[in-house]
Each structure stands twice: as structure tokens, then as C-alpha cells.
Symmetry: C2
Subunit: 511 residues, 2 copies
């Protein structure tokens, strides 16, 4: 056999024990750049939600692990052949479901650099730059949001983790030393309680499950007709619990709930937290970035009194998933909840006390998430970030105004930020919404309507229930969304609603 000159991509893969040959890596990485750039340029060619059924991808994938090596070209071809067509396209400008989580260019480049530099800022010494840069970026975001210097914090993976950390700190701040002694068999700690509204995110319940408080610990305070926590009801619930000998630990107020983006009255809640000496955690995972815009800070009044605050850059700050900012003015309680320094993690060669971030979170290892944030805040500048946030809010308000001007559509909640809650409600049914037959028809009709719009592949919307009404949500915040996409959503909604009304089955059932 004649030896073939190997392509640079194949070199050093066959019998070696090293990584891909450097020249081959460079070539492959340039290929990946083009794959990604092509993907992003043509992302609108894909159906936002792929038109496939569960279980349909797995048969296309090799069930058993390969024994021998495959060339990187074949693997990248499979990314295009198998991964891209079966992805839900969060980067698509028509992604308006849940909360838009889009990755901007500087954020993506930051992620690639993170992976290549392999930093793990669990200890200062395992990543001095990762540690100190995180301190700086946390302060950038704090300062940009107009919060006092008393706040410091860290970047975690998700709001779920940030809230879990906050509630673990609340357990310590209450003086129960749960980190050491646990929750079981503790005199005077038989019924811990955490308060949030009926509209609060499931992560609060989940954190309580994880933390051993249990779902039972979560007291859901009623919300008013605007889906805002009723502060008086909160005070009453705490009083009732205290009278019954239960142990209030923390209150979670939300600025921008997940269902309707409603805003709890944080000032009034902070008064109660003060009086009752309870930890106040503010969940502003989605809306918190709006505080970067000084003229839009009204909904945040009072959050500067919170013990802890969570804001997710990976939601509406164009940061690739994952990045959640946890701020606290009582970080010593976070440390009390999670600090544990075994011998093999002790650092011996320095006199200065350092911050070792692993002492502030449930995990030991951690990613250098500060890098992508540092890059994207610099690339856009605070002014650029503010401009984009204002723009998404303007687009949402325009959509809300269109709905309000249309007698066949009903808005189901205020839209303080960039998310609009609504349903199709033919004008003929106005005033009859509470009739059980009308109610049931509207639920069925809007379920089908959302499904029909999503099946076009051009827009992706999700739903919630507000006062037991099936509610469609349109959530903006994707960096690629333009006015034409919001207009398209509105066109598709109206067209599909008309089609549904004209369809025999729906007409027959018309109450």
C-alpha cells in the first residue's frame, strides 16, 4: 500500500495518546466557526420548534459507543445532519416562549474561550483571574443596576441554584446552624416556613425540596388581581404561623413573575421582613436586567433592602446559558451554609485571606462564567445593553397595544416588562367569560390556537394559566428579534384564530 498524505484533520489521531494535533485543531475550529456563523445567518430557515415527535431522534443515533476513532469532519457533518434539525432554536428570533434566552456573539466567544482556558475558580489559586474577574463583574452588574455597595455575590449556573443558596443562607441567618446540625430532630425547629406568592417560580418549592424543608414549608400568599403578592395577607400568614409555633425563615418576593411578569410590592414586603426579622430574597431572574436602565427602575423600589437578589444574565442579557447572578448583603451567611475546607483544598502559600468561591455554593468545581459577562458588557457597553432592553420593552408594549385595540383579543395581565399575556376571545363572548361553557371553549380554542401558531415553525409561544384561564404568553428578549417578527406573531395569531373559528369542529362547539 502506498501511504497517503494525511489531511491535517486526520493527523495524530490514530495511534497517539495526545490530543488532536495542533494544526488539525486549528483547521477544525475554523470549520466550526463557519458552521456556527452559517447556522446563525440562516437560523430563520429552521422551524423554531422542530416538527418531530418524542423518540424520533434516538433511532437515528448510534445506540452503541464507537470502538474506533471517527474523523472530525464526519462528526461535524453529523452536527449539521442530526443536531441542528432536531434542535429547538432558542437563537431563532421567533423564539418568544418561556423567557427568551439568546446567546450573543461576544458571549459565545467567551464560552469558547472558557472551554479552552479550562479555568475552575473554585479556589483563588486554581484560577486567580477567574476569581478576581468574578469579583469585578459582580460589582459591574451591581453598580449598573443601581444597587448599594453593601451587596456582593457570585455567579452561579441557574436561578434555581441562586435561590437555593439564598434560602440555605436564610436557614443559617435564623441561627439554626442547619449546616452542622441539620433540620431533623431539632427542638424549636419543627415547622420552618418560607413565604412567596401563588405566582412565584417553582424553583422556590424545588429549593425547599432539596434543602430538606419540603414543599410543605412553602406558604403561598394570595396575589391581587394584578398577580402581585398581597402584603397584608403575608403579614397575616406570618402572624398565624408564629402563633401556631411554626418558624418563619424567609420571604421570597418576585419582580417579574414567570407566569405574568407581575411585580410584588417589595417595599411593603421589606417592611414586613424587617419587622419580623426574616431573610428577604428577591427573585428577579427575568426582569432584573431592566434595572440597568435608570428610568425604568420604578418596579424595583425596595429591592435594595433585600438580603439577597437573583438576576439571570442568561435570560435577557444575551449571555449563553448558564449564568445567574446572586447578590447578597449578608454573604457571611452564605459562607456559613456552604463552607467546608478539607486538607486537599487548603492553600498554604499565602498570608492574605482570599475568596475561594466554592465556599459560597453547593458545588465544589465551577465554571469561569465571569469571562463571557466581562466580554459582553464591554462589547455592548451599558448604553448598548440599555438600548436593547428598552427596545424589547417597546416591542412588547406595541404588541400589547395592538391586542388592546382588537375587540377579539383579551389581555390577561399587565405587561410591565417585555412579556404579554393574552388570549383570543371573540368579541361576541365579551362579558360572558365566566360562563363555564364559554370558559371551557376559550381554553380549548386558545390551546389549539397556540399549537397551530407553533406548528407554523415561524414563531414559538408558550402558555400559563392565570386565574384558571389558559393564557398565551409572548415573551421578548431574544437579541435577534425585530419588529417584523413581532408583527409576524400577531399576523399568525389572527390568521390561525380565524382559521380555527372557521373550522367545523370549533364552530360546532361555539357556545
Amino acid at each position: 500500500m502506498t501511504e497517503q498524505p494525511a489531511s491535517p484533520l486526520h493527523a495524530a489521531q490514530r495511534d497517539g495518546v495526545n490530543d488532536m494535533d495542533p494544526a488539525a485543531f486549528r483547521a477544525a475550529a475554523h470549520e466550526v466557526v463557519d458552521l456556527i456563523a452559517d447556522y446563525l445567518e440562516h437560523v430563520e430557515d429552521h422551524a423554531v420548534l422542530p416538527p418531530i415527535e418524542p423518540g424520533s431522534i434516538r433511532p437515528l443515533l448510534e445506540a452503541h459507543p464507537p470502538e474506533g476513532p471517527e474523523p472530525i469532519e464526519a462528526i461535524l457533518a453529523d452536527v449539521n445532519r442530526l443536531v441542528v434539525p432536531n434542535a429547538t432554536h432558542w437563537q431563532h428570533p421567533g423564539f418568544m416562549a418561556y423567557f427568551a434566552t439568546s446567546a450573543s456573539a461576544p458571549g459565545m466567544l467567551g464560552e469558547f474561550l472558557m472551554a479552552a482556558l479550562g479555568q475552575n475558580p473554585m479556589l483563588w489559586r486554581t484560577s486567580p483571574i477567574g476569581t478576581e474577574l468574578e469579583g469585578v463583574v459582580v460589582q459591574w452588574l451591581r453598580e449598573g443596576s443601581g444597587l448599594p455597595e453593601a451587596y456582593d455575590g457570585l455567579i452561579t449556573d441557574t436561578a434555581s441554584t441562586s435561590t437555593l443558596i439564598a434560602l440555605a443562607a436564610a436557614r443559617e441567618a435564623a441561627g439554626f446552624d442547619v449546616a452542622a446540625k441539620g433540620l431533623a430532630g431539632r427542638a424549636g425547629l419543627d415547622a420552618p416556613r418560607v413565604y412567596c406568592s401563588t405566582e412565584a417560580h417553582s424553583s422556590i418549592e424545588k429549593a425547599c425540596m432539596t434543602l430538606g424543608l419540603g414543599r410543605r414549608a412553602v406558604v403561598k400568599i394570595p396575589a391581587n388581581e394584578r398577580y402581585e403578592m398581597d402584603a397584608q395577607a403575608l403579614a397575616g400568614a406570618i402572624a398565624t404561623d408564629r402563633a401556631a409555633g411554626r418558624q418563619p425563615l424567609a420571604i421570597v418576593a418576585t419582580i417579574g413573575t414567570t407566569s405574568s411578569t407581575s411585580v410584588d410590592p417589595v417595599g411593603a414586603i421589606a417592611d414586613i421582613a424587617d419587622e419580623e426579622d426574616l431573610w428577604l430574597h428577591v427573585d428577579s431572574a427575568y426582569a432584573g436586567v431592566v434595572a440597568l436602565v435608570p428610568e425604568l427602575r420604578a418596579p424595583f423600589a425596595g429591592w435594595e433592602r433585600a438580603d439577597s437578589i437573583v438576576v439571570n444574565p442568561h435570560k435577557w442579557l444575551f449571555t449563553p446559558f448558564d449564568a445567574s447572578l446572586l447578590l447578597s448583603r449578608r454573604l457571611e451567611h452564605v459562607r456559613a451554609a456552604f463552607s467546608l475546607v478539607p486538607e486537599y483544598l487548603r492553600t498554604l502559600d499565602r498570608a492574605n485571606p482570599v475568596r475561594d468561591y466554592n465556599e459560597y455554593q453547593p458545588q465544589l468545581g465551577r465554571r469561569m462564567r465571569a469571562l463571557k459577562l466581562w466580554m459582553l458588557v464591554r462589547y455592548f457597553g451599558l448604553e448598548g445593553l440599555r438600548r436593547r432592553i428598552r427596545y424589547h420593552i417597546d416591542l412588547a408594549q406595541g404588541f400589547a397595544a395592538d391586542l388592546d385595540a382588537s375587540p377579539d383579543w383579551e389581555r390577561l395581565a399587565p405587561a410591565p416588562f417585555s412579556t404579554v399575556c393574552f388570549r383570543f376571545r371573540p368579541a361576541s363572548m365579551a362579558g360572558r367569560e365566566d360562563d363555564p361553557e364559554v370558559h371551557a371553549w376559550l381554553d380549548r380554542c386558545n390551546t389549539q390556537l397556540m399549537d397551530a401558531v407553533n406548528r407554523t415553525g415561524r414563531i414559538f409561544l408558550s402558555h400559563t394559566r392565570l386565574r384558571d384561564r389558559f393564557t398565551i404568553r409572548l415573551a421578548l428578549g431574544n437579541i435577534r428579534t425585530e419588529p417584523r417578527h413581532v408583527a409576524l406573531a400577531w399576523d399568525l395569531l389572527r390568521a390561525e384564530a380565524t382559521r380555527l373559528l372557521e373550522a367545523e369542529t370549533m364552530l360546532k362547539e361555539l357556545p
Copy 2:
């Protein structure tokens, strides 16, 4: 003013509300590729551990967030100017501290693709490919490791999280319904207990802190002279606890402890777990990948009886941080511990039951970690992965043999995998190690020795304490480490030891 033609990197950044212009992104991403490829080609030019003191980087960083945008070139220049020189170089082949965590080329490319595709497989519908690919990759790793089909699982961020999930599942499996009812004020659940050896990783204690069990719940079973859990002592501790009315929940056995990589007798421990009806979790975060090599599976005997197992691809499988594999044969208890489906996460458009991975972990959102694993297993093939693992073990065994042949050096633990524990102990002191003065001198001397080697910047070693002796660890597993790096470590250790002995201060103190 005359308008200047904008460079493609500057376009669309000034007044826009969109992301970086596509052409500019492509150009910037190609620049990043070259930055990364150059970094990796010259990674050995950097001191593994940067010669800086805590607090020295922060003054170099802008304390306040920028108002206006900065060009991407300036930001990338700062990556080279500020980030790289202040990083601890985990990618450096001389990184032999802790456990080597190195990112291979296909893994890095996978991370970049993950960031760009923005998948969030929290629900099947939010990433069908992320969900189904994870199922496939989990099975690849299970099958490759020779574990039975009864195991299924998921990929989490870290072993800390995987172990936390396992112990939360144990709480549910024990029938206490902690997810709903919590741990506080529960009759018959006043003293839960989790068993591991004195050598077990701190993540077990930390998980118990987080889960509300408290550090008090952790019973540390003595280890034998090989640092392996004493199974008889375990049985005794459980019996004592039961007799005292405490509630054993779970046993954690370790295959490859963090200090010395010792191997607990998993078979004997599994017998006890069976008899006592306790959840058995096997922590094989570091060593688990060795099970990919069929002829090296002896230390894993019995792990196929565990209720759950953790193996970290981001440690010794060349996967960029983060990726931890959690396997369980009782995944229904994991789901019981973490499942919570609020209305806004319900999926309505499908009949088939799907796996929504958020129901199996404390977080809601999650990264598509399967992609990088799928790419790297295919790129190297199982055979290529096995070859690299064998190679690292051979290198470590060679180093251990060198130590064993040198009268001035003492091995402090068996080296069943790729990590060697040792200290410098001049032959003149042989037999006198337990003399308190000698003991203290050896501790001081080896502390200085490790520090001196680390200060060369060419090798990075970390330490532990084994039977109260300061112990240097040399841990291999970095994909870039070659025989010359291990030889260099050995040379530096000997040279620095000689220098230390010759230094006046050390000589004076010689006992």
C-alpha cells in the same frame, strides 16, 4: 467629517439593537480560534501556577462598567494581556495537582457549539436533540464501563451535584417523603445518618449540609492502612445507630478517593447495604473512567450493585468542565426527589410520555452537555480513550517505581490508578518517622519542597494529609502530559529537595 469605511469587526455595533453583525462575528470567531490555537500550542511557555499574589489582578481591571461599546479586538487583546497571564493553566501538561481536568479539542469544539446552539434540555420540547442525545451518551458511557442495562441517568455539572442528587433520592427511597414533608418535626426521623469513610470527598458532607441533613448526619467510618473503608466498622456503626434509634439512609463507597485514590471494598459494602436495605452510592468521580478499560476493572467489582454511581468525564475523560455522569438503577426515586411541574412547563401537544430532565435535578435549566461527550467519544473512540487512560496509569506507575527505588523518598499510599502520594524522607530518617521531631521536620520540609517545585512554574503539585503526614500528590490525567513532563517533575523534586537540605535554615533544623 468624512465617513471612514468601517472594519467588519466594528459594523453594526454603534447604534444597533441587534447582535454583532454576522460577518463581524465570523471574523472575530476566526480570531478567537487563532488565539486559542496559539495559546494551546504555547501553553508550556506559561508558569502552570501564575507567580502572583491574591488581589494583584483586580487593580488591573476596570472597576466600573463601561458606558460605551468597545471593539472586540480590544477585548480579545485584553484576554491575552490580562486573562492568560493570570490564569492557572489547567491545560498545561505540567498540571499534576488535584485531579487533572483537561479539555480536549473535540470537547472544546463541542462547548463552542453548545454555546452557539443555545440548547436547554430542561424539557424534551425545549431541546429534543439535547434530551435524546443525553439518553444515548449516558448509555454509551454505561455500556463502555461494563455496567448493566438497569442503569440509566443524566449528566450534571459536578460530582457535588451528582452526589447531592443521589442522597436526595436515598431520602425518598427510605420512604420519608422528604420532598413533600421535609426533615423537620418528623416523628421517626430525628437522626438521619449517611455513612462514608474518613477518606471520602468533602462533597458528601457538603451535600448533607445542603440537603438539611447537616454535617452531623455524616458518620465517618475508619479506613485501614491502605485508606480503604473498614466494612466491619461500617456494619458496627450502622448497628449502633439502629440500636440508638437513629435512621441510616445511605452509604457512600468511594472508588478512587481524592486524597490517595484508595478503593473501598465495594462488594462487602454492597452486602451490608443489601442487608440493611440502605441506598448505596458509589463515588467514582475521578477513577470511574478506568472502567472503560476491561482489563482494569478489578477495583470496580461490586459497583454494579450500587443504587447510584457518579463518574466525572470532566476529570479524566478530557471533557471541558463541566460534565458529571450520574447513573442510577432507581431513577424513579431521583424523580420523586426533584419532580415539580408548574403549569408554564407543562407540554400539551404530545401523547407520548417524555423524559424531561429537569425533573431529575435541583436546577430547572441545564446545559446540553451530551454534545461535547458525543463528539469526543466519537473522535477518540473507546479504543482511543482506553489507550490514553492506560498510558496515564503507566506513567504514574513508572513514577511510583522511581520513588520506590529511591531511599530518600517514601511512598505514602498505594497507587491503584494515576495518582501517586509520597514525600521526601532522607534515608537517614528511615525508621524514625514517628519521632515527633522528625515528623514535624518532614512536614515542614515537604511543605517547602512542594512550594519550591510549584514556584518553578513548570509543574504544579498539590498535597493532602495521610495519617497526619503532609503528603505530596502527583496526579496524572491531563491529555497533554508526556513522559518528559513526569521526568521533569521527578527531576525538579529531587533538585529542590537537595537545595532545601543544603539551605542553612533546613539544615539547622535537621533532627
